[in-house]
Symmetry: C2
Subunit: 344 residues, 2 copies
DNA sequence: GTGAAAGCGCTAACAG
DNA sequence: CTGTTAGCGCTTTCAC
């Protein structure tokens, strides 16, 4: 007999109740046409009465689709401590939000993974090779992250957030960082600032490098060949101490470009502590347009990075690669915009 | 023939190469004894040469284990916007970190889910019923979150972060909030503070309520029956404005207990802006011992909540429920400790 | 100690 | 338009 123990109802059960075959039930469940309306009706009723819900493993086994993707946070330091730091960054939150927004309507679920150690990296690729996920979405905290290379070598579908430091045949989504930096420079120059400095991000990240060099080049084009910089780490406290160093080393400062909003927030704080007014004494421009940017005092003028859209695009690209394994690696570069608020 | 297309190698392939049967390979893979050492050797070699990696769907189909759990962020508002906010809170990062730390060595993966709408909630329980995950770990932002009730009704293994507002037969992990609040009160009293106020969290959360009433009761026991409060929302800016209100309404204030560190940080900022010194003029005690607490100026005296351990315990409890469906719902309440730094 | 065989629940040809 | 028939890759009795 097939009326077993509690085990949740299967297609077979639904079929029996509806008085049709498993195949027909399957067709109805998967929304395939060519099924008489009356039968569809009967099947749906049967599904409801037995409380049927399709078994994902069985389905995956035959469709060869997991309906899941790995959301990998990579190279953010190592071991436990890092975990908290990465997730705590509002940046990750926005990216995750954008990805979920795209994946959800498509019934694809993100599996959170950390890839800080060689073993963890192997685990990520094994995870995909064993069919637990159809591909990987990776957010690296380091330009030298070896994961993209491993993914490419394994021939696993993957999309990166940001261009990797060294070329890898993998799709990625990025922002035109240099343009963003130029926007910031333009604003500062437009506001008549002559002694401008910058607080840069972690030098290992291509995004940091591009923002720094892009800013310097734009300033140079405007006749300001010398732009000192203090290195930060993309955190509020990092920005705060960088700003302090800048104030100490360059007393006459009247403009600052911080490579992200968190550091800009720290800079604002340091400036306030020193009794310097923003934007009167020192104008400040941030980068990202993080949620907190509008809450700063004064509200932060910043370069907006459409993170949610970029994140959604990552997801879209990944699913495209999953659907068509032959697809060439591509890159999508978004344009930043300047959001003018009170700080500059 | 079985030498098909590229399709990744299966047990069959390994068996052929090793010259044994599928069953034997399976035993070796799953570390079951009763296999001659020499054969184990041969199998392992074969696994390596063909690059075998077990197919998770096939395995799940028979073992009835997904090897995954849903990590649900629930009731944090609704729709897209919320997503970013929740993840951005350092609180979520630490919890996620603690969970991952426990799950990883056990080869269980967390699938990120949001449950803000009724449909999203149904999706969560369907997700588990279809075998995509073995259970749910849920972090609610609202005491009235309906998800725990649905989970319990569906008989799905689940563990909550924090006691639900209304009793639900579900396991949860919590902190002794009242003891934590008493610790804060004790410190303030010990430092001779006589005009003490508190910045409370979202009133809908049991944790907020317990910290508030626990603090008031402890203060009352020390002879301070009146403790005004200003409501915050667990964010820095919320704490900042609450502090401003408190200063305005209660000029003589000399001590403040903020229901979390983010708000304490905001309070510090508001106090500094008003030219009040901490701890000389006003002593401040926070709650959580967030990573940023030590970075504040002055470093924050706070009530430490062992979030990572609590999170790990959630995961442990969930796996226990998965292994033994008959297990009764239990609760594990952790004890907070006081971390004395500069602010009080 | 090892192999043969029976499914787990589902989808996808292929007939009819 | 619907049913029959094969498996997907793996674990797991049950014999040997």
């Amino acid at each position: 007999m097939s009326t077993d123990l509690p085990g949740s109802p299967t297609l077979e059960d639904v079929a029996r109740v509806a008085g049709v075959s498993r195949a027909t039930v399957s067709r109805v469940i998967n929304g395939i046409r060519n099924v008489a309306p009356e039968i569809q009706e009967a099947v749906n009723r049967a599904v409801a009465t037995v409380g049927y819900v399709p078994n994902r493993a069985a389905r995956s086994l035959v469709t060869r689709r997991a309906g899941a993707v790995a959301l990998v946070v990579s190279g953010a330091g190592d071991e436990r401590p890092s975990e908290a730091r990465v997730f705590a960054d509002p940046f990750f939150g926005r990216v995750a939000g954008g990805i979920l927004g795209f994946l959800r309507p498509r019934a694809v679920h993100p599996v959170l993974m950390l890839a800080e150690t060689p073993e963890a990296r192997d685990e990520v690729i094994a995870f995909i090779r064993q069919g637990s996920a159809d591909g990987a979405l990776v957010v690296s905290a380091h330009g030298e992250d070896p994961l993209p290379g491993l993914l490419a070598a394994a021939g696993v579908p993957a999309v990166l957030w940001g261009r990797p430091a060294r070329p890898v045949p993998i799709s990625y989504v990025d922002l035109d960082q240099r343009l963003g930096a130029a926007l910031a420079a333009g604003r500062l120059v437009e506001r008549g600032r002559r002694r401008v400095a910058t607080i840069s991000g972690p030098p290992g990240l291509p995004a940091s490098q591009d923002r720094l060099s892009g800013f310097r080049e734009a300033m140079a084009r405007s006749g300001h060949p010398y732009v000192p910089d203090a290195e930060g780490d993309f955190s509020v406290t990092g920005g705060e101490s960088a700003m302090r160093r800048l104030i100490a080393d360059h007393p006459g400062l009247d403009g600052v470009f911080a490579a992200n909003d968190l550091m800009a927030e720290g800079a604002l704080r340091a400036l306030r502590d020193r009794g310097l007014r923003v934007p009167e004494d020192v104008a400040v421009v941030g980068f990202d347009d993080a949620p907190a940017a509008a809450q700063c005092l004064p509200p932060l003028t910043t370069v907006r990075q459409p993170m949610e859209e970029m994140a959604a695009e990552m997801a879209r690209l990944l699913l495209a690669h999953v659907d068509d394994p032959g697809l060439e690696a591509t890159s999508r570069v978004f344009r930043p915009t300047l959001v003018v608020r009170g700080s500059a």
